[in-house]
């Protein structure tokens, strides 16, 4: 078998690359794979919502208010998960809601991560007064219950989806600042930073190009877990009427608007709640798996 022989000779002697090693340790965890699969499915649903959803999200079918789901004796295959009190298809609204939820997660985590990394780098690199000012401010923010703080911020900015995202970004901020600062302090004392300084690197280059790439692992994990917190908080704000406003198909506001029908038509409340649960669970599972894969201290 000449082909097999040459394949043996050509087999790379180099150790697996960083991506491959990462994938190997990630795929070892079943929870992480389930989470990853669910997240991938949610992303696809969000992207292709226009094609996947059987109905437009805000179309009212006046002849069928509160239709039960398809498997109920009164249900029909036309509305698989039933309709809400004003005759909109729940499945379609949930599908379009995925888009909103992921967007909320993405934007608020991005704002929070960007600001948090910069503040954390400043605090961890310069120490002293800079650190004290930044960290004590973050401590004050952490001292308030997160939802209460978010409500306060929305109360100042005014209700609405965009403002809810800013509020969530502010609430999540201290976690990233603290995490970055801790990682930066750990890395800044290492010899490669000194040798980079000796090679003539300036402050900005040391902070962003030398130290920051070595602090990414915990940040990636926190960002993934922060996604689920953001989605949950956005739903909570929506439920309280401070986030997305009707008729936006946002899961939290869907829950809120159907609350009075919980006795007569439980499906109207059940499915948005399930959607939130599954999404949050998926991100948490993925974040857990990422932490196990990225943290060398947890490796067996």
């Amino acid at each position: 078998m000449p082909e097999a022989a040459s394949a043996l000779v050509a087999a790379p002697s180099a150790p697996p690359g960083p991506w491959r090693e990462f994938w190997q340790s990630l795929s070892r965890s079943r929870g992480a794979m389930i989470g990853l699969g669910l997240v991938a499915a949610l992303i696809l649903i969000a992207i292709f919502a226009d094609f996947v959803a059987p109905h437009p999200p805000n179309e009212q079918y006046r002849e069928s208010f509160l239709t039960p789901p398809a498997w109920d004796k009164d249900g029909s295959m036309r509305f698989i998960l039933g309709t809400d009190p004003v005759g909109r298809d729940i499945l379609s609204r949930l599908i379009f809601g995925t888009r909103l939820s992921l967007m909320i997660g993405l934007i608020s985590v991005a704002i929070s991560l960007g600001l948090g990394v910069v503040l954390g780098l400043l605090a961890g690199y310069f120490r002293g007064l800079t650190e004290t000012v930044i960290m004590r401010l973050m401590d004050v923010m952490l001292a308030l219950p997160s939802l209460l703080l978010a409500i306060a911020v929305v109360a100042i900015l005014g209700p609405g989806l965009a403002n809810a995202m800013y509020a969530i970004a502010i609430v999540l901020l201290p976690h990233y600042v603290r995490l970055t600062r801790a990682a930066v302090i750990g890395e800044a004392g290492k010899e490669y930073v000194a040798s980079s300084r000796i090679a003539g690197a300036g402050t900005m280059r040391l902070m962003f190009n030398t130290i920051l790439p070595n602090c990414t692992a915990p940040l990636i994990v926190q960002a993934t877990l922060g996604f689920s917190t953001a989605i949950l908080d956005a739903a909570a704000l929506g439920f309280l009427g401070l986030g997305a406003q009707p008729p936006t198909p946002e899961w939290g506001s869907m829950l809120a608007s159907a609350l009075e029908f919980i006795q007569r038509a439980p499906w109207v409340v059940t499915f948005p709640g399930l959607a939130i649960l599954i999404t949050v669970l998926a991100f948490n599972l993925m974040g857990d798996g990422l932490r196990d894969a990225l943290d060398p201290r947890l490796k067996r």
């Binding site: 010899e191 000194a194 040798s195």
Partner: protein
């Protein structure tokens, strides 16, 4: 005129009122093409001296010097920007732990090329391909086998010896005039130590670099250096040519260090040790810093700090410098034997 000339270098940590002097009034000079060994126990201020020279001591550390010139430029008044242009190009440094000194996130080629992009020639600064060719050439100069294949490896894929060679390649990338090697071989195993040392001395000869070799390996200094500086608790205690210092040590500390070498204890059941520790911030003796550990210490040693005395060739910080037979000279008498008036210091 020496390439590097330092006098009265002091590095302090801690409060203004009760500072801890990690380096205390060090005078040091090195010529182009010279190898100077700096030896001493852990905590004797060898590394801090080098870091102060490179401008790497941050607040709360304080660096003071009467004079500090490199190649005719005053390092005490230089701006940060000028220092960055100088350090890394004309003065380079390699550290003890090579694997910790390479950024784990980037490949060997990236890190070599990064230095070249800042300090390299005009052509190297502009052209990425030139930089890569030069990086490859540097790896070949430090005798890394199969250099082309190593360019794109990450630090964790290198062995310790290989990583130290990469560090040396980075250090010599810009043809420095002065190379400071801070325990370059301590983290390596013995066979690799010899190779790395041979490499360092070859590069030093070829390029006529000045080399400061910081180490606690006395044998290494004896083999490679021309001059040696013995440090203790932040002070220079003895300086001079290697042959002189090692054959007839004039300071009791140098004598004790040499006596502690395993080679000198072959016929004894136990290795000879120096009792006690280098004094820290809170147990600094009033007189000579070595007095609590010195076998010859007398009352005057405990009371009075000796100055660094002698000519430019050979200097020693002791009230009673040792003679060729290893006995204290001058008016030394063991405590309690006789109390008499002492001659001038």
């Amino acid at each position: 005129m020496p390439l590097l000339d330092i006098s009265g270098l002091t590095v302090e940590f801690g409060s203004e009122t009760a500072p801890f002097k990690a380096v205390d009034g060090v005078d040091f000079a090195i010529d182009a093409g010279e190898i100077v060994g700096v030896v001493g126990e852990s905590g004797s201020g060898k590394t801090v001296t080098a870091l102060a020279l490179m401008g790497l001591i941050d607040f709360p550390g304080r660096v003071r010097a009467d004079a500090m010139t490199f190649n005719g430029r005053d390092l005490t008044t230089i701006s940060d920007r000028e220092r960055r242009a100088l350090v890394g190009k004309d003065i380079a440094m390699i550290f003890q732990d090579p694997l910790a000194s390479l950024n784990p996130c980037f490949t060997v080629a990236f890190q070599l090329m990064e230095t070249l992009r800042i300090h390299g020639s005009d052509e190297e600064r502009r052209n990425r391909a030139t930089r890569r060719a030069r990086a490859l050439q540097l790896l070949e100069q430090v005798e890394i086998p199969d250099a082309a294949a190593r360019l794109d490896l990450y630090p964790h894929q290198l062995s310790g010896g290989m990583a130290q060679r990469v560090m040396i390649a980075m250090a010599i990338a810009c043809n420095p005039r002065l190379l400071i090697a801070d325990e370059p071989t301590t983290a390596l195993d013995v066979t690799v130590q010899a190779q790395v040392l041979a490499l360092l001395t070859r590069l030093q000869r070829e390029r006529d670099m000045a080399l400061i070799l910081i180490t606690h390996d006395l044998a290494l200094v004896a083999e490679t250096a021309q001059r040696v500086v013995v440090m203790y608790a932040g002070q220079e205690v003895e300086t001079g040519p290697v042959s002189g210092v090692f054959e007839t040590p004039r300071h009791p500390y140098t004598q004790a260090l040499l006596a502690a070498l395993p080679e000198h204890n072959e016929d004894k059941a136990r290795l000879q040790a120096i009792p006690g520790m280098v004094p820290g911030q809170h147990d600094r003796p009033a007189g000579c810093l070595l007095s609590p550990r010195c076998v010859f210490a007398v009352e005057r040693c405990r009371r009075e700090m000796p100055p660094l005395a002698g000519d430019a060739q050979r200097r020693v910080r002791c009230h009673f410098p040792l003679d060729a037979a290893g006995r204290p000279t001058g008016s030394w008498r063991p405590d309690g034997v006789a109390v008499e008036s002492e001659g001038t210091a």
